[in-house]
């Protein structure tokens, strides 16, 4: 950051710095977020987590050796954790054939109640092995153990349990219509919520009677690998769930396989476009859950202290690696000063570092590539004339870390205000009226999420109606529930996951 004017947020300043406060008021010493009483390290014990030196594809209920093995790292230490193979066309074909056979011979013939039992068993097994899964997720992904323990794993289990309940009630899902499964589904998931995204994809597909071939992201294959053990223990019939590993090429091989009935993809808009081109003219159904540039809107009548929590939850949760992150903050201009002061104080108490420490709030960036991307966007923001504010915390010597950051003096034309950064970087802009807030929030190619902060119910509902986003939170942010549909408008994709709506992309409907 040489030569760039960065306003550093000092957590340990000796309290000597004077801050001007509101207009016309006496300056008071700044609040001191120091280490008078510091939390000692509270590392999560990981001795119960057994990581094999190598994992294999899981096809037809068996582990199948592959080719092109590559390593997966712990992004917080840069240490190699294990290795997995990269699926080629032949391996993809083998997996799809296994899924087809399982669909034709077994799974589609099972009564819904039996499918439900299998899903319930998976959900319960996730709960039983929750600590192990949480540790593994944190080691492979870099997210704080607090989040994998309290969000990723419980929500993943909840998705299986929720869709287990639907499996024997599909006849009642759409009154007046009968439904049937599609067949074999190819599913490609991202690295930001590896286990949770696997649950979002697998649970509704299986509940509706489909079989799947799932490819986890190349940097985060390990919880999917552990899932294969859980599937075996839960008695998932062979071939119903197949997991193949690999990077983009393997994913491309999967989605172009001719015998798929359905493709579901969560990831970048760029790859989503490529998939859509590949599938054009084919019989395959498609749902896409892509990028976002969520607008978080704070009105002057908002509960401001709680709104700040929503801002932090919106952009620093999971290091900002969240497609529905509230990465654009719109603040009503007359409360900007107060909001910035409160946000600065809140940032000063964020704890960045070892993801396995139970007190860590912001963990490691998932890969060096992503870290580079975030850095380049921050440079772009500075070069374009925005003012950068950054928490001046110490970072571990090794691993991929980035300090929580926000930008002021941002204008809508800035790239940091338009493009998805997928990191802990917030772009703050102002607005004067509700109409202007709507116009600015909707002025984006994306439309995945939005947050509204106001004490007025009428304003909240009027805003929610006017905003072009698939998920809208009122006085909260980044809250998920398996019963609630999730998905995007515009270039954030189509199709919904979660709730009854999440079943629809996996069913044929007959009138």
């Amino acid at each position: 950051m040489d030569g760039i004017d960065v306003k550093e947020i000092q957590p340990t300043s000796p309290g000597a710095s004077e801050q001007s406060g509101a207009k016309g008021r006496t300056p008071v010493p700044e609040l001191l977020f120091g280490d008078l009483w510091d939390y000692a390290p509270a590392p999560q014990n990981t001795s119960h987590v057994k990581i094999a030196p190598r994992y294999e594809h899981f096809i037809g209920g068996e582990f199948v050796a592959g080719t092109g093995y590559f390593s997966t790292l712990n992004p917080a230490t840069e240490e190699r954790l294990s290795e997995v193979p990269a699926a080629d066309d032949e391996m993809v074909d083998r997996a799809v054939r296994a899924a087809r056979e399982a669909f034709d011979k077994r799974w589609s013939k099972l009564p819904g109640s039996e499918r439900g039992k299998v899903l319930y068993r998976i959900g319960r097994a996730l709960q039983e092995r929750s600590r192990e899964l949480a540790c593994l997720e944190t080691m492979d992904n870099g997210k704080p153990i607090k989040e994998s323990r309290d969000v990723d794993v419980p929500l993943a289990a909840a998705h299986f349990l929720y869709y287990a309940g639907w499996a024997d009630k599909l006849d009642y899902a759409l009154p007046g219509a009968t439904v049937s499964p599609l067949g074999v589904c190819g599913q490609v998931i991202p690295w930001n919520f590896p286990l949770l995204m696997a649950a979002w994809k697998i649970a509704p597909a299986l509940a509706a009677g489909n079989t799947v071939v799932l490819k986890p992201a190349e940097t985060t294959p390990l919880t999917a690998a552990l899932l294969t053990e859980i599937f075996q223990e839960a008695g998932v019939p062979p071939g119903v769930i197949n997991i193949i590993f690999g990077a983009g090429a393997s994913g491309a091989a999967l989605v172009r396989h001719p015998d798929l009935n359905k493709v579901a993809f969560t990831g970048s808009t760029e790859v989503g476009r490529a998939i859509q081109r590949t599938l054009a003219g084919s019989k395959k159904r498609l749902t896409l859950e892509l990028g976002g540039k969520g607008a978080n809107i704070i009105f002057d009548d908002a509960p401001l202290d709680q709104a700040i929590e929503g801002v932090v939850e919106g952009i620093y949760f999971n290091q900002g690696h969240v497609c529905c992150a509230g990465s654009r903050l719109f603040v009503q201009e007359n409360v900007l000063e107060t909001v910035l002061r409160k946000l600065t104080h809140r940032l000063a108490s964020l704890r960045v570092g070892d993801p396995l420490d139970k007190n860590t709030d912001v963990g490691a960036i998932n890969s060096s590539e992503q870290l580079e991307k975030i850095r380049s966007y921050v440079d772009i923001g500075c070069a374009e004339g925005a003012q950068m504010h950054q928490l001046a915390c110490e970072l571990p010597d090794k691993g991929f870390f980035f300090r929580p950051t926000f930008f002021t003096n941002v204008v809508p034309a800035h790239r940091i205000a338009r493009e998805e950064i997928f990191g802990p970087v917030l772009a703050i802009q102002t607005f004067r009226t509700p109409d202007e807030a709507v116009q600015k929030a909707n002025n984006s190619p994306y439309g995945l999420s939005a947050g509204i902060w106001t004490d007025k119910g009428s304003k909240l509902f009027a805003m929610a109606k006017a905003l072009h986003a698939g998920v809208i939170w009122g006085n909260t942010f980044n809250k998920f529930d398996p019963a609630s549909p999730f998905g995007g408008f515009k270039e954030s994709g189509f199709g919904r996951e979660g709730g009854l709506h999440g079943l629809l992309p996996y069913m044929e409907v007959r009138g």
Partner: protein
């Protein structure tokens, strides 16, 4: 003199405030941090006995315990001994030569339902008897009726009657109904000259909670940034374990900063908390939990 007008106070969202407050329960306090926290907590306890059956000897026993919580161990004394006004002189004598303050509940504690002049007189006499700190209750009836001016005037008058004694203003948050009301009452108390704001009397079933304390800490923070005046905070009632107490400390640390981590600015009103802190302290040194029977109850 102009009548008091309550300035605008920010609204509070109940769901999100409770979520934030519960996040401090996830702070994992281990080893050296726990040791430091236990010492801090000890020094912040307002060790309290407020019963009709209080006797001089009971108060003297409590004072002994507060001065030297675990004889033979190098531990700080508690922050204060909190008693009814009639017991102030007994406590003062028993605490002579120690750092422990004498706090007393004046103003027709716990209901506050008596005549203004009597509250002033009670405060004066209690301070004259040797109280270093006065814990008053606000007139919740007047507050809930919207008569903020009366609440303000009463606190201001008691503050004057306190003279050199510190004034803690009890909002009795369990009777206020919403966090918005807590925020308003906090502001009135701070405007009127409170040195501390305090959650509860401990005499009704809903006492201190983490969210209510968080809302009051945020009120203190905003008041400080606006006026430069530093106000203390005292959650009282319902905090029974050391673990709960250090989660409160984490909340103070992350809301107001380290400056407030002192018994001059943060107190915990409690009676049973002390022995749990002592048990945790013993556990840190011995590695084992001891039975409660090894700790004297007063």
């Amino acid at each position: 003199m102009c009548p008091y007008v309550l300035p605008p106070v920010p609204s509070v969202d109940q769901v999100q405030a409770e979520l934030r407050a519960s996040s401090f329960r996830k702070r994992s306090i281990k080893t050296s941090a726990k040791k430091q926290a236990l010492r801090l907590i000890l020094s912040m306890i307002d060790l309290t006995t407020l019963e009709g059956m209080d006797t001089p000897d009971k108060v003297r026993r409590l004072c002994r315990k507060g001065r030297d919580p675990l004889p033979g161990e190098d531990l700080p004394s508690v922050g204060a001994i909190c008693v009814y006004p009639t017991m102030v002189s007994v406590a003062k004598e028993a605490l002579a030569g120690s750092s422990v303050k004498v706090a007393s509940v004046a103003t027709a504690f716990p209901s506050g339902q008596t005549f203004h002049e009597l509250k002033i007189e009670e405060t004066r006499r209690t301070v004259a008897a040797g109280a270093d700190e006065i814990d008053m209750v606000i007139s919740r009836g007047a507050f809930l009726a919207g008569d903020y001016g009366r609440v303000f005037d009463e606190i201001a008058a008691i503050k004057q009657a306190c003279g050199p004694a510190h004034l803690k203003v009890i909002l009795e948050t369990g009777e206020l109904g919403t966090y918005d009301q807590v925020r308003r009452a906090s502001r009135i108390a701070m405007d009127a000259g409170a040195d501390f704001i305090k959650t509860s009397t401990g005499k009704i079933s809903v006492a201190a909670t983490m969210p209510v304390t968080l809302v009051m800490l945020e009120a203190i923070r905003d008041f400080y940034l606006e006026t430069g005046r530093i106000i203390g905070m005292k959650p009282a009632g319902g905090i029974r374990t050391a673990k709960e107490a250090w989660h409160y400390l984490a909340m103070v640390k992350e809301t107001l900063g380290d400056t407030w981590l002192t018994n001059r600015l943060f107190r915990i009103g409690a009676s049973s908390l002390l022995n749990d802190v002592l048990m945790q302290w013993r556990r840190l040194s011995s590695g084992r939990y001891q039975s409660p029977v090894y700790f004297s109850e007063d």
